[in-house]
Structures are given as C-alpha cells and as structure tokens.
C-alpha cells in the first residue's frame, strides 16, 4: 500500500480510506441500482403471477397466439417503431387517438351503468330542465336588476336548489345524549310537509311516453355537443364548427334505433357511448386533420381495431381457442356467487363508481376551495399567518393519518352522529372523501402556487378584484394541475378498503346499489371478502381477476392524469 505514505492522501478529508478503490465504487453503484430495482422487480413479478392466474394465458392454443401476433402485434409493433424514429408528432397523435376512444368508452360505460341502476332517462331529463330553468332565472335577474349583486347571489344560490329539489318534506329527529349520565341533553324533532315539488316531478310524467334514448339525445348529447362545438370554434380561426358538431352528434345519436341493434346494443347505450367516446374523438380528429401534422399516427388505432377484428374472425374460422380467462365479460357483468365460474364483480363495480361520484360532487369543491383560500387569501405574516401555517401543517399531517382512523371517524360522524345507515354509498363516499381531502388540497395548492405571479399582477393592474383574478386568471391556468391531482386522489380513493370495513360496507351484495342511500360493496371490499374463501378457484382465479380489474381501473385513472400533466407541462 504505497499510497499510504503519500502525504497528500493523509492530509485529505478522507484519510481514513486507503486510496482510490475503483472496485468499491463500482460495487456500490450496482448495489444502489439493485436496491432501486428491488421493489419494482418484486411487485412486477408478483403482479405477473396475478395476471397469469386471472387470464390463464397457457390455456390458449398456440395458433390463437400466432394469429393475433400476425394481425395485431406485428403491425402495431412496426408502426410503433416507425413513430419512435420519425421526428413528427405521430406518436403523440397515435397515443391520443387510441386513448381517447378507450377512456371515452369506459366513461360511457360508467354513465350507461348509472342510467341502468340509478336514474332513468326521464329523471335525467327532469334534472337538465331544472338546471336550465335555474339558469334562465339567474339570467333574467341579471337583465332586470343588473346592479343588485347581493340579491343575485341569493338567486344564484337558491334557484338551482328550488328547481332541482323543491321544498321537500322534512323530518328531523336528533337527540344529543351525554356520554356520562346517558340523559338526553337536547332533542330536536319536527316534520314539515312538502311545500314545492321539484321541476323534475312535473317534467317526468310529461316526458315518460317518449323513448328513453330520445330523451338522452336532447338532454345529454345536445348539451355535450354544444360544449364540444364551442371548443372547436375557439380553436379554429374562422369561427366555424358549432353547427357542424351539433348536427353530426344529433345525426349519430338519432341513428340509434337503426344502428344499435346491428352491434348488439340497446338504443339508450348507443346514445351514451356515442356521446362519451365518439364525440371527443371526432373533435380531436378535426384538430389533427386541420393541422396536418402527425397524420400517420391515426393509422395506429385503425390498425389495432382492424387487427383485433381480423384476429377474431380468423381464430373463429380456424377454431383456435383463446385463454379460458377468469376475467371475461360475464365476470364484469354478474354478481358474486358461491360457484367460482359464475362469480362476478358487477355490483361492487357499480358501488365504486357511485362512491367516486359522491367524492367528486361533495369533497372536491371543498378541497379546491380550501387550496384557493390557503394560497390566494390567507395572510402569511403576523399571528394570523402563523395560524395559517399551522393549518397547512395540519393538512400535511391529515394526509398521514391511517385510513382505518378515517373509517372510525366516518362511523362516529356519519353513522352514529348524523344517524345515516351503516354501509350505504353516501357514508362510504363521505368517509373516503374525507380521507382524500388533504391529498386534493395539497395537490391543488401546488398547482395554484405554480401559476406565475406576473399573471396575477397583470390582472390586478387592469383593475380586477381578487375574486375576478382567481376566477379568470389563476384557476384556468392551474386547472390541469388541479385535475391531475384530483384524478390521482380518485385513484387513491378507489383502492381504499379499511375505511369501508369500518363503516360496514357489505362484503358482497347480490344487487347493485340503485341510489346513494343503498347498501353497497366496493371492488376492494369484494376482493377482501374473496380472500377468505378456501376454494382454490376463488383464491387464485376469481380473486386474481378482481385484482386485475381494480388495477386496470387504477391504471386508466392514473394514465389519464399523467397524460394531462405531460400535455400541459410541454405547453409551458
């Protein structure tokens, strides 16, 4: 060890080490790399097992794989290789043109499920009429009394409530008992008759003879088409596009009675799926065709669709059997059963969708509102500022409170406190909503913080009030970030199990919930219930299929969030 005598080594800060050791550095680098890969590889391998158990790929004929390799994978792979090499944005176009219809179809399926289980088209039509009426009242008030701003606030707040809900019959019976002496401290009990029925109640009997799909064309497709049409108009320089979009959408959906039976769908589902999947895709295609860049990307979804169809025809013709997968259409559409072959996940799937709706409707506005206050209004100095920073720390801490404690909170607050039933959709949504509230707040705060101050100052400089600045400048800029964060929070919400156990969500239900006050089961809850079955077909087959379904929904949610984020990060 000649180096040891060299004075420059000994005087270095690292004199304890003996010289330069190349091997040690190399080994250390590899160890750190292995550590990075450890968790990833382990989970990937385990999930590969899950996938194998769920789909059973080895039960398929070799010919089946060969056919699909030739019709789907070879052309898709060739196209992908081409996109990777070409500098044109064809790859992005391919991703969007494939992803948009897929996400649209899944969203459309979720909406269609709502129309099957929760509300009839007539209910929805009544709701839309009520909202339109409320909007008309507000606009009329604005025209007639333009200066009465405070009065308008009242109108804006009350008109939708009165038209949508009316003044329903109320029955309140709350008793507060002391925990120590078990005597009642306070009892509130009263009941009022229904004073004003909702607009929907008037509209429903009138429109009930009209077929459901036609009601949806007017109340779902038309508003959506107007919305998308306005997007097209804003994008185009010549200001055209609104009538074309609306006309196209109406033609597409009124074709339902003729076209739907051809693909084996009910007319109603055709309308919903066309609105959710075809409309956004068409609007996207319009832009790609107008810009004429990355046109070759459009080939990818076409090649995929044609390849899958050709593969289906060919495997059928040759008689090749596909894998005997646990995860198939009947798994997605049937309730659980004591025989593994018949077991499905439909009711919990609907339960999860309804739960997410509750969260989106009740919790997200509060979360985004809190983020706006903390970032835009809250003082950051003085005693009040210290209080605000405490609130911010509190939000961070709430994000770390175990989910099981939130379940306990939901149980105590909504079941024992308000007196809602155990295990209903509303309680589940509210409980899991409280759990994701801090996540929504934190991500929204980050998105709002990322809006450059110069924009706010410019808006202030033009004389905008603070609220006008927020509404017209800050929120539109922060919207993609907020959207990304909230979708990720939804992903967290859909996988939560412990809170559902605490609020008594059913292990498995035969029927899907028909409303927000019905008992429900959610996907993770059903998975947990299956895990205690001893039949190996359940443990390895049905359970794996359930896990893959849950992960697929999660992947779709997170993938959408990541695509939104990347799209808007590039733009900045």
């Amino acid at each position: 060890m000649a180096q040891d005598y060299r004075p420059d080594r000994d005087s270095s800060a690292f004199s304890g080490q003996t010289g330069v050791n190349r091997l040690r550095g190399r080994v250390f680098e590899w160890v750190t790399l292995a550590a990075t890969a450890f968790g990833l590889v382990m989970v990937t391998v385990l999930l590969a097992y899950v996938f194998t158990d769920a789909v059973r790929p080895f039960t398929a004929d070799a010919g089946w794989y060969l056919v699909y390799a030739a019709t789907v994978f070879a052309p898709a792979g060739a196209l992908l290789a081409y996109y990777y090499r070409t500098p044109e944005p064809a790859g992005d176009v391919a991703l969007s043109a494939t992803g948009l219809p897929v996400v649209g179809l899944v969203a459309g399926a979720a909406i269609a499920v709502l129309f099957i289980e929760v509300a009839t088209p007539a209910d929805w039509f009544g709701l839309v009429v009520a909202v339109l009426l409320a909007g008309a009242v507000v606009v009329a008030h604005q025209r007639l009394r333009p200066t009465a701003a405070l009065e308008r606030l009242l109108v804006v707040a009350l008109a939708p409530v009165l038209t949508v809900v009316g003044i329903p019959a109320l029955a309140v019976d709350v008793a507060l008992t002391s925990p120590y002496t078990a005597t009642e401290i306070l009892t509130i009990a009263f009941a009022t008759p229904e004073l004003l029925s909702s607009v929907g109640a008037f509209v429903r009997p009138v429109v009930s003879p009209v077929p459901g799909w036609l009601l949806l064309v007017t109340s779902l497709t038309l508003p959506a088409a107007v919305l998308f049409g306005r997007v097209v108009v804003r994008r185009r320089d010549d200001g055209r596009g609104l009538p074309e979009t609306v006309a196209g959408a109406v033609v597409l959906t009124t074709a339902a009675p003729v076209a739907a039976p051809l693909v084996g769908l009910a007319a109603l589902h055709w309308v919903v799926l066309a609105t959710a999947a075809v409309l956004p895709t068409a609007v996207y295609l319009e832009r790609v065709l107008r810009r004429r860049s990355g046109l070759l990307g459009l080939l990818f979804p076409v090649a995929l669709a044609v390849g899958v169809a050709a593969g289906a025809v060919l495997t059928d013709a040759f008689g090749f059997a596909g894998p005997a997968s646990w995860l198939d259409w009947s798994f997605l559409t049937s309730p659980t059963s004591i025989t593994p072959e018949k077991a499905g996940i439909y009711p919990p799937l609907v339960g999860s969708v309804l739960m997410l709706l509750v969260i989106v409707a009740l919790v997200f506005p509060a979360g985004v509102g809190a983020a706006i206050y903390l970032e835009e209004y809250a003082p950051d100095s003085g005693p009040a500022g210290r209080l605000v920073s405490l609130v911010e720390i509190n939000v961070g801490n709430l994000a770390g409170v175990p989910s099981v404690v939130y379940g306990l909170l939901g149980l105590a607050l909504f079941v024992k406190g308000i007196g809602l039933e155990t295990g209903i959709v509303l309680v589940g949504g509210l409980t899991v909503g409280l759990l994701v509230l801090p996540i929504v707040i934190i991500s929204s705060m980050e998105a709002i913080r990322a809006v450059p101050d110069s924009l706010r100052q410019a808006s202030d400089g033009m004389g905008a009030t603070r609220w006008q600045t927020i509404r017209c400048v800050v929120l539109p800029q922060a919207l993609p970030g907020i959207l990304t964060g909230t979708i990720l929070a939804l992903g967290r919400a859909i996988g939560e199990t412990a809170p559902l156990l605490m609020i008594g969500a059913a292990a498995s239900v035969r029927l899907a919930p028909n409303g927000f006050f019905d008992k429900f089961s959610a996907m993770p809850r059903q998975i947990f219930a299956w895990s205690s079955e001893f039949d190996p077909d359940f443990r390895f087959g049905v359970l794996a299929a359930g896990v893959v379904t849950l992960l697929a929904v999660l992947l779709l949610l997170n993938g959408t969030a990541i695509v939104i984020r990347n799209k808007y990060q590039q733009r900045d």
Binding site: Q17, V20, T32, T36, Y373, Y377, A412, K416
Partner: protein, 311 residues
C-alpha cells in the same frame, strides 16, 4: 385589506362588489377551516367513545395488560402494540436500507433519463391499493418464502411485514432523494477537489448533508407502517401475541395481530355498539392517531430543518 379597497375604488367602488368579494373570501375560508374541523372531529369522536371505554375498562389494565381476549373482557393492549412494533421494525429493516440506497442511486448515479423513468415507477408502488399488497403477501409471498425452506404459518408476521416494507420503500426513497438533490453541488465539488471518489462523496458528503431529510423519510415511512391495515389483516392473521424475547424468530413465523387489525376485527364481529369490545376500537384508534400524528409532526420537523439549510 386596505389595498383591497384601493383596488376596488378603481373599478367604481361598488359597495356590493366589496361585499361579494368578502363573501367569496369567507366561503373559501370555510373550506379551509373544514380541515381543522376534520382534525377536531377525529380527536373529539375518538375521545368521546374512548372515555366511555375507559369507564368500562381500567386504563391501567389497558396500557399494561398482556392479554387481549375481548370475549373474556381482557383488554391488555401490549400484545397489539408488540405486533404493531414487530411489523414496523421488520418493514423498516426492509424499506430503510433499500429506500436510502435507491435514493442515493437516483440522486447521485442515475442518468437524467433513467431517473425520469425510475422515480415515477417507484412512486407507482405507493399507489397500488393495500388490499392488493395484502393479497400478494397471502397468496404468493407466503408460499414463496415457504418454498425457500422457512417454516411459516398460513398467516404470519414475516410476509406481511415484508410487504408493508415494500409498500413504504417509495416513501423513503422519494423523500430522501428530494433531500439529497437539495444538497448544493458546491459540497460535492468540494469533496471531489479533496480527492474523494464518487463513492466517498455520496456516502461521506451527500448523505450526512441530507441527513435530516433522510430521517424525515424514515419517520414518515414508519408512521405509514404503523397505520397500515389491510396487509396485516389479510396476511398476518388475527391472533394477538406478545413478542417472545426467548425465541424472536418464532414470533415472525406465527400469526399475530396489530392495533389496526384489532380495530377491524372489532367492527366486523357481531358485537353491540355498547359493548366494551366495540368501544375498544376508539381507544385503539385514539392511540394510533396520537402515534402517527406525533411521527408525522416529527417528520415535518426534520424535513423543515434541511429545507431551512439549503433552500
């Protein structure tokens, strides 16, 4: 507030506009206060029933009792605490070394491109639902460990704890990596100028400089492990067992129960809402909430220190 009204004067100074602004402000303030209300109601609702529980069960018996047999009215929390601690320690043994080494790789060695792929991929691990991890531990990991020759029960502490560890790896690696990336390059360059190798700089300069952030990530990960529910409910069984100092390894091979899974068991078993078993949930929940809140606060404090130093 004064500059608010000055700004409003420019647009005509309509009084109702001032009022409207104030109204929006209060509405949003109400949203922000909702978070405080949530914290408050967690503490209140838990304490409310926990007080009732301690009316039925002596707090001394609760905190130093060594038997948790709810049917016989024995509510000693120590076996549950020991189960929670055991899971947390083993999970920490998995997650802390792996997480820190991964953080060193990501911040010191990885190319920007590798980092752009690996960091979000690691964070995806934290996004997998815990019920899926529990299922992986029960159905795949336990049989795999058995095939390695480890004698394990169907429900055992070891595979549950390993899974909890894998789940919290991203918490350690992500936060530690943030702390290491925040270390100024001048420190690294100083190390190189003194003739140190990359290994020496990574281990001798960067890690010590980022140590408060690294500790913050440990504490956060441990807090997550303490509160983890589904993995332990599914893979660890439901038998409360005090840690056996004489043969520590058998404790890992057998089933056990944590505070969280005792809560789940209490709520899923058919006991009346007035029974001490049902109320014991709230006492456990309060203990758990206190522990995790404390750990999170500690983690924040550590993280605040490194942010103060370098940002």
């Amino acid at each position: 507030m004064s500059n608010d009204s000055a700004r409003l004067q420019l647009t005509g100074g309509a009084r109702q506009r001032v009022r409207r602004e104030r109204l929006y402000r209060y509405l949003l303030l109400a949203c922000a206060s909702a978070t405080v209300v949530v914290t408050g109601s967690i503490i209140f609702t838990l304490a409310f029933d926990a007080v009732q529980f301690f009316g039925m069960v002596d707090p001394v018996d609760f905190f130093i009792g060594t038997e948790w047999i709810t049917d016989r009215g024995q509510f000693g929390v120590l076996p549950l605490v020991s189960g929670t601690l055991l899971v947390t320690v083993v999970a920490g043994l998995v997650a802390i070394p792996v997480g820190v080494l991964a953080a060193i790789y990501l911040s010191e060695y990885a190319s920007p491109r590798a980092r752009a792929v690996l960091k979000p991929a690691l964070e995806l691990l934290a996004g997998i639902p815990t019920v899926v991890y529990g299922y992986l531990a029960l159905i795949y990991l336990t049989p795999f460990l058995r095939s390695l020759g480890i004698d394990l029960g169907t429900f055992n502490v070891l595979s549950a704890a390993i899974m909890v560890g894998v789940m919290v790896i991203p918490m350690v690696s992500s936060l530690s990596e943030d702390a290491m990336s925040a270390v100024p390059d001048a420190l690294r360059e100083g190390g190189f100028a003194l003739g140190a190798t990359k290994f020496q700089v990574s281990v001798g300069v960067v890690v010590p400089a980022a140590i408060s952030g690294v500790f913050a990530s440990f504490v956060l990960a441990l807090s997550r492990a303490v509160g983890e529910t589904m993995i332990v409910v599914m893979a660890m069984g439901l038998r409360p067992r005090l840690f056996d100092l004489g043969s520590p390894l058998t404790s890992l091979q057998e089933s056990g129960q944590t505070m969280t899974s005792a809560m789940v068991q209490a709520v899923t078993s058919d006991v009346g809402a007035a029974s001490p078993t049902y109320k014991s949930m709230f006492a456990l929940g309060l203990t758990l909430f206190a522990i995790t809140f404390l750990l999170n606060y500690l983690s924040n404090w550590f993280a605040g220190r490194y942010r103060e130093e370098y940002n």
